[in-house]
């Protein structure tokens, strides 16, 4: 750039400055308004949207689908689209290093590439058109980032549409723009801007069709994240009930495993006492749960050995539950001490939804679910409780106090009808006795005909005659 041009630029700037404004207060005033708006926006976002809770990092969970931060999503999508190109697509570093590297280099060296003194937009049709295409492409690639390049039925159509919208149209348009700018020098800026606009509309159209035919993302039921101590204790209680009761019992004091395939008769230390809780810290407890104790018969529960195992967060919840329930150095928060189910009034009939389901989840589901030894009696849903099991005809009979189910929970094993010396069903749960209020709820439920919803149960409830008095006060002992 020669001195004459430099002089001209300086003079032009001086003219603009002379009919301009003062930095203080004019420019600063505008700056402050924008900063204030941003500050307000930040407060609103932090208050009303906040930060979503995520489960703790789990290096052994290889099934997790990784996604970068949203502002790198376009690169991620670009990489996926590029990977579809035959032959070239296999050379990964072209897309991960070469293309972004060249783009960053051009951006950095821009003042030394675009060296004309022209600033008005009609005199800069090529750079403006190219940058506009790049920005539109970045936005569209970000929007398409969640759509896979191969649909579930194996069709590659959606991938090709993405390649057209995100790679082919912008690429070809850029080449055409360069040709126009350098081969036909006298092309008008208007033509180039129109071309860019048409290409952008086409890209938006193809992206729209990709988003339209893309399968709607199904809300995946990821394990919920418990953030408060009380929620963590509840989550730990539920996980403990399903995963640990089978061997350790609902109160953790079992010393001899019964009724568990492969571990029958194994002697184990109780896990609710000082020996375990005082000698192992949280991290060691979590490790025992995750990796097991092969010499002591403890199976591993983490994802390292079993992709469907417990996540790091879930194991942490179990440890927290154990601490606050059995470790006498920790005090259970008052809010976590709510009863398992609302206490029953006299004559009230419990329902599956409100009363029975929590009981089953806490005391039965550990064994009575698919893949366990349980005479095929599954208790994971209302229907299964009533219709599965080898003895389903005699298990649960509405109104019959001799139902097998009611017998075994009250401590009466069922003898085998063919060979009275053997037991067909032993008492349940195998290693402990249910609390009286729980047995009472189960008896009332079956005697009344197993109502499912609270409304059904309410219809069956018999209001006691007021004269009866407080003699038959139902048990209201809360269970921890």
């Amino acid at each position: 750039m020669d001195d004459e041009t430099k002089q001209k630029i300086k003079e032009r700037y001086q003219r603009q400055v002379n009919r301009g404004e003062r930095f203080w207060p004019d420019s600063i005033f505008k700056d402050l308004i924008v900063s204030l708006a941003i500050f307000t926006l930040l407060i609103l976002l932090a208050t009303f949207i906040g930060v979503a809770s995520e489960p703790k990092a789990d290096p052994s969970d290889t099934s997790y689908i990784p996604r970068p931060e949203w502002y790198f999503l376009f690169l991620f999508k670009f990489l996926a689209i590029y990977g579809q190109i035959p032959v070239l697509g296999k050379i990964e570093w072209i897309a991960t290093v070469l293309v972004p590297g060249i783009a960053m280099l051009v951006l950095t060296l821009l003042p030394f590439i675009d060296r004309t003194p022209n600033r008005y937009y009609t005199k800069r049709a090529l750079p403006i058109s190219i940058m506009a295409l790049v920005v539109v492409d970045i936005i569209l690639l970000t929007l398409m980032a969640d759509v896979p390049t191969v649909s579930e039925n194996g069709s590659k159509l959606v991938g090709w549409l993405q390649a057209v919208a995100g790679l082919a149209i912008p690429g070809l348009t850029m080449i055409a723009l360069f040709l126009m700018a350098f081969a036909f020098k006298n092309i008008s800026a208007k033509t180039m801007f129109w071309m860019t606009a048409i290409a952008s509309v086409l890209m938006i159209g193809f992206t729209g069709s990709v988003l339209a035919i893309a399968p709607k993302p199904t809300a995946t039921a990821e394990g919920t994240v418990a953030t408060t101590l009380v929620d963590q204790i509840f989550a730990g209680q539920d996980l403990y009930s399903v995963n640990c009761t089978e061997c350790h019992g609902d109160d953790g004091k079992v010393t001899k495993i019964e009724g568990v395939k492969g571990l029958e008769g194994k002697e184990i230390p109780p896990i609710n006492g000082h020996d375990v809780l005082y000698t192992l810290d949280d991290a060691s407890l979590a490790e025992v749960i995750a990796y097991g104790r092969p010499d002591a018969g403890m199976n591993p529960f983490g994802k390292t050995y079993n992709p469907a195992g417990l996540s790091k967060s879930e194991i942490d919840y179990i440890v927290i539950f154990m601490r606050y329930t059995w470790d006498d150095r920790f005090e259970m928060p008052a809010e976590a001490l709510k009863p398992l189910f609302p206490p029953l009034a006299e004559g009230e009939v419990p329902s599956y939804d409100v009363h029975i389901q929590p009981i089953v989840k806490r005391y039965c589901l550990a064994c009575h679910r698919a893949g366990k030894e349980n005479n095929n009696f599954l208790m994971d849903s209302y229907e299964n409780i009533l219709s599965t099991g080898d003895n389903k005809d005699k298990d649960i009979i509405a109104g019959d106090p001799n139902s097998y189910f009611l017998q075994v929970i009250q401590g009466h094993a069922i003898p085998d009808p063919k060979d009275p010396t053997k037991t067909l069903i032993r008492t349940m749960p195998p290693n402990s006795q249910l609390k009286p209020n729980i047995v009472d709820a189960l008896i009332r439920w079956i005697m009344a005909g197993m109502p499912r919803t609270a409304e059904d149960a309410a219809k069956l409830t018999v209001t006691p005659a007021p004269a009866t008095g407080p003699a038959g006060t139902p048990s209201v002992t809360p269970t921890p």
């Binding site: 930040l42 932090a46 997790y64 990784p66 570093w93 950095t108 953030t227």
Partner: protein
Amino acid sequence: MWKKIFDWLDERLGLVDLYKNLLDRPEPQGNWWNTLGSASLFLFIMQAVTGIFLTVYYTPSPDHAYDSINYIMNGVAFGWLIRGIHHWGATLMVIVVFVHMLRVFFTASFKYPREMTWLIGVGLFLLTLGMGFTGYLLPWNQKSYWATTVGTQIAGTVPFLGDFILKALRGGSNLSALTLQRFFAAHIWMLPAALAGLIGAHLYLIIKHGESHFPTKDD
């Protein structure tokens, strides 16, 4: 009395000169797009302030990072607000810095005599992205852990140097406590120090050359 104090201070600090040189400057007719630079600076300051507060409770170790963030969100008074602002501020800062760069590109403000301002600006943009990348790992949750795994893997595809870069970023061949520690160091010391220095240079150049004017037909 006040006059006396002011004069005494002015004699030693040069307040009037400061006012004349920094604030009472003529500028070309302003444009709302020109506020994006100061908005970026404002966001940087917000991130610095909220970030400093967060380090009071945050622990950069795989055993405690997740729980310390959980404590900030649920145990510390207004911790959720500080973290919320820091989280959303990061997103907004990337957007605002990027749009600021686009504005400079489209009005060709990077041309003579502001080439160096542009070069430093590109550096600031890259550092902002680096802050986003390193900060994302710190909560040590599933999302951040796997995003960083993939991010560092991509850096590892560089021909010849890839393996070295991967190991330098992770502090070993796998993501570990070392990775978290060095991302933390980069996030709170190295990158902010570089950012602050470059912001200083950027501001100096803006004062030296003045804000560029919106291009007219003559330009």
